[in-house]
């Protein structure tokens, strides 16, 4: 018997207003960029993004100091009637990661998307900066909203910001890729919406925290879980719904590819975490977790193998994203397994999130590096990369560092993430995931090695670069790659940020 949901005794916490500011700042940026127009769009972005970084840091600090989730009741109304913004450890980390990567991308792209002098407004730069701010706003909304319908709107925002970034250069292939991306995104949204409808029909609320207490193992919940998960998987491009991603991410301008691969797919992945671990921890069966991770394993293998066959660097990196997304889903059966053994699921959750953050920083650096290589050589054919090592030493180092982070060498975040996931796999006796992770690591190291080796080949005749890349752009890429390489040092932090606000989940699965 489902009781009517009562008002949740939640109140706005001390730092709660930071959540409002973090949510609204990017949207104000978009509005300002649109109204002021022209070259002001870039100025608005360069002002807003550092400010947003400060806000995200403040949220992290506040969360760590109070060791509680930050909450803000919008309009003063508590759920189920109203909507709440929540920032637990997961949200705070993702907000900070987003802000850092966007700052790096903004610095990288600053010169690339410059309005030509004498023109009041040019389409490509104006749209790039506006869309960058738009993407930022949608991501913050995904990380902060506590209501499933608000999250639906945030997902639509994410799609509308990502699709035009893909076809910013308006070539036919990119338009096709953008259309395919949009259709997959719409399919995902409509399935997600359908699941939300069923949840409301059964429980009378869409608030995440309230639903966690109300959801029972019954047909409506199972159907909703299945529908919403499939929808989110379409948006996250998990195998076999990954076909839209490689052409889309490879066809976008380098700075846009960085944002799309690093951040956009993490938004929908974040919602899978919310759904599986926060809304329905007791409903999702262990078998479902194994199934999801099985698709992840397939993604790792297929993505890496196809990446090895690529002739172009950007396509290789895009297929690498398909593979790395597979890793993210290994955390689910591991978390379920740990909970079933009455152990805290910290290693699995922290491992999954760290994998996401590590991939985000490394992949952004690699895409930006590929952009610099393209600008210098005039192409990005892997077979003809010889000599790039001499011309762009910092970029090549960045590529190697980023690749090492993906492979999982210490002290990279990828290493720590895989270590946590491997230990969780061994603890729960799910040794087959160990095999998958090791195989994936070997395949990843293969193509990183190939690219770096090709680029290090010295040529006698010095290629004249198509464009001399300013050193500061290389420096930004190297800085981001170094960050991804050193993320493993996060293990030394005194506080496990990810665990702030995490409820101890019920034992997963039916009795």
């Amino acid at each position: 018997m489902n009781a009517l949901p009562a008002m949740l005794p939640e109140t706005t916490t001390a730092g709660g207003f930071l959540l409002v500011l973090t949510l609204i700042l990017p949207f104000v940026g978009v509005l300002a960029a649109l109204t002021l127009g022209g070259r002001h769009a870039r100025r608005v972005a360069m002002l807003a993004i550092p400010l947003g970084l400060v806000l995200s840091l403040a949220i992290v600090v506040e969360a760590v100091q109070t060791e509680r989730t930050l909450v803000y009741l919008l309009g003063g109304w508590a759920p189920p009637l109203g909507i709440v913004l929540r920032a637990d450890g997961l949200s705070a980390v993702m907000l900070l990661t987003t802000a850092v990567i966007l700052l790096a991308v903004a610095l990288f792209a600053h010169a690339d998307f410059d309005t030509p002098p004498g023109t009041r407004e040019a389409r490509r730069p104006f749209m790039f900066w506006t869309l960058l701010l738009a993407m930022w706003g949608s991501l913050n909304a995904v990380f902060l909203a506590g209501d499933l319908f608000t999250l639906y709107v945030a997902l639509e925002l994410l799609g509308f910001a990502g699709v035009p970034l893909v076809c910013l250069d308006e070539r036919a292939e990119t338009l096709q890729a953008a259309l395919r991306y949009l259709l997959f995104a719409l399919l995902g949204s409509v399935l997600y919406m359908l699941g939300a409808v069923l949840l409301y029909g059964a429980y009378g609320t869409l608030d995440i925290a309230l639903l966690a207490g109300l959801v029972r193992p019954e047909p409506a919940a199972f159907a909703a879980a299945a529908l919403m998960t499939v929808g989110l998987l379409a948006k996250t491009a998990l195998f076999p719904l990954h076909l839209w991603l490689p052409p889309a991410h490879a066809g976008a301008p380098a700075a846009a590819s960085a944002v799309l691969s690093a951040l956009a797919v993490k938004g929908s992945f974040f919602l899978v975490i919310r759904l599986w671990l926060d809304v329905m921890p007791g409903i999702i069966t262990p078998a479902a977790g194994q199934l999801l991770a099985a698709f992840g394993a397939a993604a790792i293998l297929v993505g890496n193998v196809v990446a090895l066959r690529q002739k172009r660097l950007k396509m290789l990196i895009a297929y690498s994203t398909v593979a790395q997304i597979g890793y993210l889903f290994l955390m689910f059966p591991l978390a379920a397994g740990l909970s079933a053994m009455q152990l805290p699921n910290d290693p699995a959750v922290t491992g999954g999130l760290l994998q996401a953050v590590s991939h985000a920083t490394a992949k952004a650096a690699m895409f930006m590096g590929a952009g610099l290589i393209y600008a210098t050589l005039g192409h990005d054919r892997i077979a003809d990369l010889a000599g790039v090592g001499r011309q762009l030493p910092m970029t090549l180092l960045a590529f190697a560092l980023g690749g090492s982070a993906l492979v999982g060498l210490p002290p990279a975040g990828g290493f720590l993430a895989k270590w946590l996931l491997l230990s969780a796999a061994l603890t729960t006796g799910q040794w087959w995931w160990v095999v998958v992770m090791v195989a994936g690591g070997l395949l990843t190291s293969a193509y990183v090695f190939i690219v770096v080796m090709r680029a290090l080949v010295a040529v006698d005749a010095e290629n004249t670069p198509k464009m001399v890349v300013p050193r500061h752009r290389e420096a930004v890429v190297l800085a981001l790659a170094s960050l991804s390489f050193l993320l493993g040092l996060a293990a030394l932090l005194p506080v496990d940020i990810v665990q702030i606000g995490r409820p101890q989940p019920f034992a997963a699965g039916l009795p």
Partner: protein
């Protein structure tokens, strides 16, 4: 069998019908139309949920009704973007198809 249940079944059929149309129609515009069918079916289901929540003199639970209105507008904006993409693709290439992307073919960047 009462009215809400009847419309609920109608919504369910519309969702299935739209999915069929999505898979079967090769033209992108028809796919977009099929999407709208699925979306409207989902919203109809939401409306049924609202009607079942009628209480206290209100004909239905106002929260789902409000969400449906938001959803209809969002769906329209998605349709507008999709149509604009299809038309632009058609202007550029003379055809509007989603021919499978050749992964190895280098786009002329």
């Amino acid at each position: 069998m009462n009215a809400p249940t009847l419309f609920g079944l109608c919504g369910a059929v519309l969702v299935g019908l739209g999915l069929y149309g999505l898979v079967v129609n090769p033209q992108p515009l028809r796919k977009i139309l099929a999407f709208n069918l699925v979306g409207s079916g989902v919203f109809l289901l939401f409306g049924v949920v609202a009607r079942r929540g009628a209480a206290l003199g209100m004909g239905g639970d106002p929260v789902p009704q409000a969400l449906v209105i938001t959803g209809i507008v969002v769906a329209f904006s998605a349709t507008a973007l999709a149509v604009a993409l299809v038309l632009r693709l058609h202007d550029l290439t003379g055809a509007a198809t989603l021919a499978p992307a050749d992964a190895d073919e280098p786009p002329a960047q």
